[in-house]
Structures are given as structure tokens and as C-alpha cells.
């Protein structure tokens, strides 16, 4: 088998990436603009020995893929804002029970039902913080159809390596646009580490990740969303066990920020540096093309955990310009890691930033002194 070239939309490419990564169970509930992911999985999964199911809602979709994951499959769901909100409860369950799952959020304009057919990046903080309690997650953000495919594959590997929910935080633009794409005949698969005999089901290894006690393999594990000890048994009254568990689960991801980081660094000597992820990356790239060697660019393929060390690559930076299709969600995170002035370029409503709008931000950035300045487009 050889690689295959195709011309697909982003959502279909995402489904194909999942299949290539060995995803064999998908549970979902239709919602614009993510539905093509489910439809493609419904069509393709039965042909490769997998199972597709349309659940009664997104609470159930998230629950079903967690159940499927404990049965040993790579599992996924896809949704958009309203469904993402419903998934928060079981996302928390997945983080606390260390269940590998992949959740695709094809973002649309919110809050509430908002703009069903318009692109947005308004769920970036919800993705990081939306469920209750302290936890950490991994989130990827593709800016092309090819990346929809490649990063979906990567999402499954990260989910298994870190035993955590991994989010593909894309948007309507990338989900619905068509581009040429290479479908690989072979993708790298890094399987989850099975629990070894004699190993406790919730005791961490040297990476802070326990072995996975797949159901039906004779491990006889008990898995609970209550605070649990290393055996996996409820231990809700112990402050010590609770703190140790929460901190370990956060650290198993945060300590590997730099291993997880996946960024493009362009023109690191530049004084004015764009930071972007997802659809706005495309406009930034166009501007850089039109004005070679003028601006720096940090493109984030992985947004969470935030790859803060990559900011240090821009030694001459006088300002970071951050175009986002929200009111500056990742700009807040950048602010926590740098004293360099930040120019926030929010855009709501669904249209991409234009190069002219980015140039307007450049003009502001040239003389900016305040820690944070918002450009009104």
C-alpha cells in the first residue's frame, strides 16, 4: 500500500485520520458544524470492524466512548459548543479515571446556540478549564485539512501515552474547507501501556502514568470517579491521597509541556511576532508570505499544555500580536508567561481575519507600551 492523495473537507479528513490511527468506536450526536465527522465514521467504521453509534445526547456520547475505551478500543466523539458543554461532566470523569479518549470540537460561534454555521475559537478556555476541579488536558489545533488528519492521529497517540482526554480544537472554517491531502498508508501508532501483573491499577510509573487495566483481560480492576488510592479503591476522606492524586495527574501532563509542544517558529529574530493557532494561522502565513522577513510567527499546533518555552525563541520581540476568533482567550495565557507587550486582535462573527486587519494590529504594535492592548477591528 502506498500513500493516497485526495481532496477532502477537514471533517472528513479528521474521520480518516481517526480510522488510520486505529479508532474503532465512535459515539456521537449530530451538531453543526461537526456532523460530517460522525457521518463519515458511520459510513466507514463497519467496513473496518468497528462500531458507530448515535447516542441520545452528548452526555451519553462522552460516556459511551469512555466505556469503549475501557473495553480496549481507541474511541472518539465529535461535537461543537452546545454539545461540548454537555460533555464537561464526563470529561472530568475521564481525566480523573485517566481514560484515553479523543474529543473533536468543531467550534462555532457561542455562547449558547449562537452561530451554528460560523467559525469561532470561543471554547479554548472551556476546553482547558470547563469541568470542575483541578486537572490538565492536551489540546491540538489544526490549521489545514492535512493537519486535521495528522493531528487526529497524533491526538490518539497522546491520549494513550498520557492516559487523558485529548481535544482536537478546530473550527467551522477548517472543518468545512476542502484541500488536497495525503492519506498515509501507515501511521505511527503508540499504544497505551497495559497494566502489568502485580502492578496496582492506579500506581504511576516513572512518567506519572499508571498501566491501563483493559476490561476483560483478567485484571479485575475497579475504576471510580471518586478520589481513589493506588488500588483504585475509593479513599474520599484522605486529604493526603486526594492531593497526591490530583497533583500527580496534573504533573503527568504539565511536566511534559516541552515534550508535548508542537509549534512552528518563523523569523525568531523579528521584533513584531504573531502568535496564532487554527484558522487565523492561515491569514498570518499569508501576511508573512507577502512581507518576507518582516514578522515573526509562533504557530501552535498544540495549545494545551501551553508551550510557554517557545516564547523564549523570540529574543528581540517587542510585541506579541495575537489574532483569535474569540475575545482573547489564549492571549490571557500568553500574558502569564511574558512581560513583553501583547496586542490582542479579537474577531467574532465567523469571518477570518484579513491581512489588512493584521496590518492594522501591526501599526498598533509598533508603538505599544501597555502590557495588553486590544485592537478594535
Amino acid at each position: 500500500m502506498t500513500d493516497k492523495t485526495d481532496f477532502l473537507n477537514g471533517n472528513v479528513a479528521c474521520a480518516e485520520g481517526a480510522l488510520a490511527a486505529g479508532c474503532r468506536f465512535f459515539a456521537g450526536y449530530p451538531i453543526t458544524p461537526s456532523t460530517e465527522v460522525a457521518e463519515r465514521m458511520a459510513l466507514r467504521l463497519p467496513k473496518v470492524g468497528g462500531v458507530f453509534i448515535q447516542m441520545e445526547d452528548e452526555l451519553a456520547s462522552a460516556a459511551a466512548i469512555i466505556g469503549g475505551s475501557w473495553a480496549g478500543a481507541r474511541t472518539m466523539t465529535a461535537t461543537s459548543g452546545p454539545g461540548f458543554s454537555l460533555m464537561m461532566e464526563n470529561i472530568g470523569y475521564a481525566t480523573f479515571t485517566e481514560t484515553p479518549i479523543v474529543i473533536v470540537n468543531v467550534q462555532r460561534g457561542g455562547p449558547s446556540t449562537g452561530q451554528p454555521t460560523m467559525a469561532a475559537q470561543g471554547d479554548m478556555l472551556q476546553c482547558r478549564y470547563g469541568s470542575h476541579g483541578d486537572y490538565s488536558v492536551i489540546a491540538l489545533s489544526p490549521s489545514s485539512v492535512q493537519e486535521m488528519y495528522d493531528l487526529t492521529v497524533k491526538a490518539f497517540n497522546l491520549a494513550d501515552r498520557f492516559r487523558t482526554p485529548v481535544f482536537l480544537m478546530t473550527d467551522e472554517t477548517i472543518g468545512h474547507m476542502r484541500e488536497k491531502i495525503t492519506l498515509h498508508s501507515n501511521v505511527e501508532i503508540i499504544p497505551r501501556r497495559e497494566l502489568k501483573e502485580g502492578e496496582l491499577p492506579c500506581a504511576p510509573d516513572e512518567n506519572g502514568v499508571p498501566g491501563f487495566g483493559t476490561f476483560g483481560m483478567g485484571h479485575n480492576v475497579h475504576i471510580t470517579g471518586l478520589t481513589h488510592n493506588e488500588k483504585g479503591y475509593p479513599a474520599t476522606d484522605s486529604a493526603e491521597i486526594h492531593e497526591k492524586l490530583v497533583r500527580r495527574q496534573v504533573r503527568k501532563i504539565e511536566d511534559f509541556r516541552n515534550e508535548i509542544a508542537d509549534v512552528d517558529i518563523v523569523n525568531p529574530d523579528a521584533e513584531l511576532v504573531f502568535i496564532s493557532y487554527g484558522a487565523p494561522t492561515r491569514t498570518v502565513r499569508q501576511l508573512l508570505n507577502d512581507n518576507p522577513d518582516t514578522y515573526g510567527h509562533l504557530n501552535l499546533r498544540i495549545v494545551w499544555p501551553f508551550p510557554d518555552e517557545s516564547l523564549l525563541a523570540f529574543k528581540n520581540a517587542k510585541a506579541f500580536i495575537i489574532p483569535e476568533m474569540n475575545l482573547g482567550q489564549i492571549a490571557k495565557e500568553v500574558r502569564q508567561h511574558t512581560n513583553i507587550p501583547i496586542v490582542v486582535v479579537p474577531k467574532l462573527g465567523g469571518a477570518l481575519h484579513t491581512p489588512a486587519e493584521l496590518l492594522k494590529a501591526v501599526e498598533v504594535a509598533k508603538t505599544v507600551k501597555k502590557p495588553v492592548t486590544e485592537v478594535r477591528l
Binding site: 468506536f25 459511551a64 466505556g67
Partner: protein, 264 residues
């Protein structure tokens, strides 16, 4: 394996109050599993949240203690990926019919090959005795201090109407019949729903003039009407009195199930 082997010995004794009916129901379930000679690696217990749902933590094979009301959705995913597993779900009246009501209806409709054991104590036990969708009309709970003003669900009718292949109701008093019903439920492909009326002396009995555990068990014995008798009465036009409830097997049918290996 014998019955003790099905208990997770290093987690005993369990958290249930003295006189709670849940231990009896767990015991009947494990006895049925043992009678069927299931293997541990083929048997998975899944539950939601509540006193009843803690039962999954006391079984010795793989078990998943999930979120409130959602056990059936978790179970659906697990069963579809591993159809060879015998999947048994423990749930409570609140877990199953309030927060999990939609999942319950849809699991029955799909007729997914899972056995659901609902411990109906007519109350939210774990949170200290609030009213549930199964709290009888007029009954006292901490959130119905003047008596419940809503009608309760008949969970078996819901399960039957929604499409479950096997539906039965017994009580914690009817230990033999209950064990047998669970066994039949486990052997019936598709969704098997077994409702067990059970006593929560702490949060229900104490507020509803049944302070003694024996009073509740006597009530189950006296108020349970066998299905055959209820049918005969109905044919004669005799109306059931409101404190009575019907026990027995309501349906056993052979509609196509989801999540069994052959049908996959």
C-alpha cells in the same frame, strides 16, 4: 468459583447502613452470576452514583463506577466494543429515572444486551433522603416535607414500553424469586430490566412510619401482588388498591438485541 469469590474481599465490609436492602440485592445478583458459572474476565459491573451504585465496588471482577445517571451510556460503549462481556448495571431509582431517565429509555429502546438491576428504595438515599421520581404519592422526604405531590414512575412499564426484552419486579423480601429473575435476565439477550423494591431504613422508612427494617419487609410481603393474580383481578374489573404493587415477570420477548456478537 463460589459466591465469596465474586466479592471484592479487601473492600468489605460495605458502607451500607444496618438493615439496608442493597446488600441482599447484591448477594442475589452474585448468586445468579455464580449459578451461571460466569468467568470473571467475561463479567463487567457498571454503576452510576448513589448507595445502590456503590454495589459495583464490591464485586471482584472489572467494574466501572461512573457518573450520576449515566451508567447505561458507559455500559453501551463498553458492550459494543466487547460484545462477549456479560455487562451488569447497578442503578438506583434516582440514578435510573431522574438524571438518567433519558439514557434508561434509550438503552431499553436499543435493547442493548445488558442486565440492569435497579434498587428502588423510593428515595435519594445517598444524599440523605430527598424525593425521587419513585417516591410514592404523599410520602415524606426531606424535599417533600408535606408529602410528595407528584405521581411516581412505574419503571417496569417504562422499560417495557421503551422496548426491553426482559422486565421483572421483585423485592428484597423475595430473595429466591429475585435471584431467579436475575438469572433469567442474564440469559435473555437484549436489555433485561429488573426492578427491586428495597428498604432504605435510614432515609425512607424512618420518615414514613416504618422505623423498623422488619416493618418495611413486612410491607413488601403484604403489598406485593403476583402478576398472575393482578391480571386475574384486572380481568374481573377489580381495581388494585394504591398501596399494592405488582411483582413478577412482565415481559420476556425476543426482539433483536444490540451488542451481541452474532448480530454485530
Amino acid at each position: 468459583m463460589n459466591l465469596e469469590d465474586w466479592y471484592r474481599q479487601d473492600r468489605l465490609p460495605h458502607i451500607y447502613c444496618a438493615g439496608c436492602g442493597n446488600g441482599t440485592i447484591l448477594n442475589c445478583t452474585l448468586r445468579a452470576v455464580e449459578e451461571l458459572d460466569y468467568k470473571k474476565e467475561e463479567t463487567t459491573f457498571i454503576s452510576g452514583i448513589g448507595c445502590s451504585s456503590r454495589a459495583a465496588g464490591y464485586t471482584s471482577s472489572d467494574s466501572l463506577h461512573t457518573t450520576h445517571g449515566r451508567a447505561l451510556a458507559f455500559a453501551t460503549g463498553l458492550k459494543l466494543v466487547k460484545p462477549r462481556q456479560h455487562v451488569i448495571v447497578f442503578t438506583g431509582d434516582g440514578d435510573c429515572s431522574a438524571i438518567g431517565g433519558n439514557h434508561f429509555i434509550h438503552a431499553c429502546r436499543r435493547n442493548i444486551d445488558i442486565t440492569v438491576i435497579c434498587m428502588n428504595n423510593n428515595i435519594y438515599g445517598m444524599t440523605g433522603g430527598q424525593g425521587s421520581p419513585c417516591t410514592p404519592y404523599g410520602a415524606i422526604s426531606t424535599t417533600t416535607p408535606y408529602g410528595m405531590q407528584e405521581q411516581p414512575f412505574d419503571l417496569c412499564k417504562v422499560a417495557e414500553a421503551a422496548g426491553a426484552n426482559y422486565v421483572a419486579r421483585w423485592t428484597s423480601f423475595h430473595v429466591k424469586e429475585l435471584t431467579e429473575a436475575i438469572r433469567v435476565g442474564l440469559e435473555t439477550p437484549g436489555l433485561s430490566f429488573i426492578e427491586v423494591m428495597t428498604q432504605c431504613p435510614t432515609s425512607f422508612g424512618s420518615k414514613n412510619k416504618m422505623r423498623q427494617v422488619t416493618q418495611m419487609l413486612d410491607m413488601f410481603r403484604d403489598n406485593a401482588v403476583l402478576k398472575a393474580k393482578a391480571d386475574r383481578d384486572a380481568a374481573k374489573g377489580i381495581l388494585p388498591s394504591p398501596e399494592k404493587f405488582v411483582v413478577g415477570q412482565f415481559v420476556r420477548r425476543n426482539n433483536p438485541p444490540l451488542g451481541v456478537e452474532a448480530a454485530k
